[in-house]
């Protein structure tokens, strides 16, 4: 019976009076791509650091490849931390070689692997350039390559898309798929739901240190009923307007051109019925579309508007950084 790369059992971590992770249990089965989702401050990074043994849990226990996290188990893991950092005075090639050797590769294998990865990603002409001379994107690529250099069985990527431009985000998605095809199990955290929608077999959602969802994408979407989206002039209270019509409205976006509300469709009713009800209620409608379920909506429906706003803030910050 294959051993799961990672099992967290009732793990709790507190910092003073603040509970960063509250009674979290999760399992990462072999060979899957798992998205670890939630806004900033949801407890994702702390959970990953506990998973790697960087910090111990206050309660519960962690198993990495069937045993407590230790250097031997960690040799099978490639970890990309949320806070990127490399030795600025080292060259790209030396950096990848150094980290590969720390994971157990011989000097010659590590150098060969560094050359191979740099060539494969088009960075070979910068292999002897110091990290300080590389662009931020290139340095980030080098760090990702350092994570992959020893061909880990299990990749843990903490916010891997953070700071990357759209082209490099796509390249990283391809790289994750390639690693998955190679046979690696992948757990990555993100607060950008679209990456998870495109990549994941399963998702684990976190909010305020607690797990709110653990399942496949289909299972996640099944938590939502069918619906429609209606955009109205800012300030119009759609929930109140539809209060007596049998439709339930939830505001899902608050933008300059108008507020977007998701209308939950009761069984047997269609999107056009909701539009008609809104018009009859005097809603100043600016847009209408039958609902295509998104992970963001799953998250909103599970955690409520306050955490949804936290997620939106995380995404906005991410957009500015990229």
């Amino acid at each position: 019976m294959p051993v799961s790369p990672l099992v967290l059992s009732s793990v709790t971590k507190r910092f003073g009076h603040f509970t960063a992770v509250d009674n979290l249990s999760m399992e990462v089965p072999e060979g899957q791509i798992i998205g670890f989702l939630g806004p900033n401050g949801a407890g994702k990074s702390t959970s990953l650091r506990m998973a790697l043994g960087v910090m111990p849990p206050d309660e519960g226990h962690v198993e990495l490849f069937g045993r407590a996290p230790g250097i031997e188990a960690l040799k099978r893991v490639g970890f990309l931390p949320e806070e990127r950092g490399l030795y600025k005075k080292m060259t790209a090639r030396d950096t990848i070689t150094h980290f590969a050797r720390l994971k157990g590769l011989s000097a010659s294998d590590a150098r060969a692997r560094a050359d191979e990865l740099l060539q494969a990603t088009g960075l070979d002409e910068f292999s002897r350039a110091r990290i300080s001379k590389l662009s931020k994107g290139m340095a980030q690529k080098v760090q990702i390559l350092s994570t992959l250099a020893h061909r880990p069985d299990f990749l843990i990527l903490d916010e891997p898309f953070s700071g990357l431009d759209p082209v490099n985000q796509q390249a990283l998605e391809d790289l994750i798929r390639a690693e998955h095809d190679r046979g690696a199990t992948i757990l990555f955290s993100t607060h950008v739901m679209e990456h998870a929608e495109r990549l994941c077999d399963r998702i684990i959602m976190m909010a305020r240190g607690r797990k709110v969802l653990d399942g496949t994408l289909a299972e996640a979407f099944s938590t939502l009923g069918q619906g429609a989206r209606i955009t109205v002039e800012p300030g119009f209270d759609m929930a109140a307007a539809l209060a007596n019509t049998g439709f339930e409205a939830t505001r899902v976006a608050d933008e300059a051109h108008g507020d977007t509300w998701r209308i939950e469709l009761p069984r047997g009713r269609e999107a056009q019925d909701a539009l008609r009800a809104a018009l009859e209620a005097g809603a100043p409608i600016r847009g209408f579309a039958p609902d295509e379920a998104r992970l963001r909506d799953v998250f909103v429906s599970l955690v409520g508007e306050a955490d949804a706003e936290a997620l939106a803030a995380s995404e906005a910050a991410e957009g500015e950084a990229a």
Partner: protein
Amino acid sequence: MRNILLIFRRDYLGYVKAWGFWLSLAAVPFFMIIGGSLAGFAAQSSPVRYYAVVEPGTTLYADAIEAEFQRREEADRETASQLAEQMDMPDETSAQISNTQADRKFIRVPAPADTIDGLRPYLLGEKTVSGPVGDKPLFAALVLSSDKDELEYWSDDVNVTQLRYLTEDAMLRLARREALKDAGLGEDFLKNVDESAFKVPAKRIRPEAEQTAEGADVTMADRAPMFVAGGLAYFLWLMVFSIIQYLLMGTIEERSNKIFDTLLTSVKLPQLLAGKLLAVFAVTSTMMISWGLFAFVGASVIASQVPGTGSLIAPFLSALANPTIIVPGLISFLLGYVMYGVIFMALGSLCDTIQEAQTLLSPMMILLMLPMFAIFIAFQDPGSPIVDIASWIPFFTPFLLILRMPQDPPMWEILAQMGIMAATTALVLWGATKVYRAGAVHGAGIGDMGSALKRMIGLKGKAA
């Protein structure tokens, strides 16, 4: 062990590849050569200066000054001769050294005028006087005052004082000689009195079995252990002082580069600390060994040029090989290095910037200066109770235990001090690892020292 070596290798190469390292490496020999050359050049290039003595109708004072010059030159030859004797030089070389006459830098010339007004243009450089090294201005004039109770020293440059002080000594000897003459005693009386005084040769008491008439004489072999112990203590101090910036800056770099999480998923924290400590030790050792090689080559060159230098160095090498000095010395060296090294590394892990680190440097400098003062005291008075007492303070023990060894302290004191030092080092290592973990893993800063201390004793602190 492999991981420790990999961390060591990266850090070591990181340091030695920096141009600043090579600059530091080259700076010491470079400035030693420049300094030595300048000192030699300054001694050789010191100009010959003319002086005149104005004492109408007599040469009493001029002769007294000349006699003082000769007395000092004779004393210098005597010192050189004694050194040559200790160095076991060939007789010919020894005689050559004994007869070496340093060039005199002050030469008396006939006074070109009898009054200050007449001498003024010569003293101000407007006119010159002829002398053995050509025409020059008069540097100084010693003029007997009108009431003949003072010998006035006149010069345009009052900062060069050698001639004035030499003249004061000459006048003192002249006054004593005149007083003896007035008392009816001959000129050689004082000389004979001086020569008849008992000599006080230094003898070293040793156990009877070791004591021989010849072996009681105090030689360089008796003094060498103190010099060697002092040198070792100072070397350790210098090494600790040198590592401060390496350890602080290296750890700050890793913290500001946010690299700890990546490292700690590849190596254990103690391995990381050990590798870094070893790297900085190797960097400073590389520097010290390089400078030592430079000194060795320099000494070899001098030894090849000056016969007998080998016999002067031999007692120091013998003291260095003495297990009663070198064994406690090495243990102190190792424990002292680890103790101070981990403290600086732990402090570095709490700093994000060099500015933050600088606020920590001042108290650490003061802590480090204290044993330096004790080293000075130990040189002045090796048996000083201050040194004995201070050597029980674990932070000073590494330096002061080495210094006490030539005094043959009781064995129980040596063992007790080593034990306390080892226990303190273990405690410091434990605490520093906790602080390092707080800084590296939990992101604690200087402002979180309180939280870090709480973490050390098992309480919780700042969120990651």
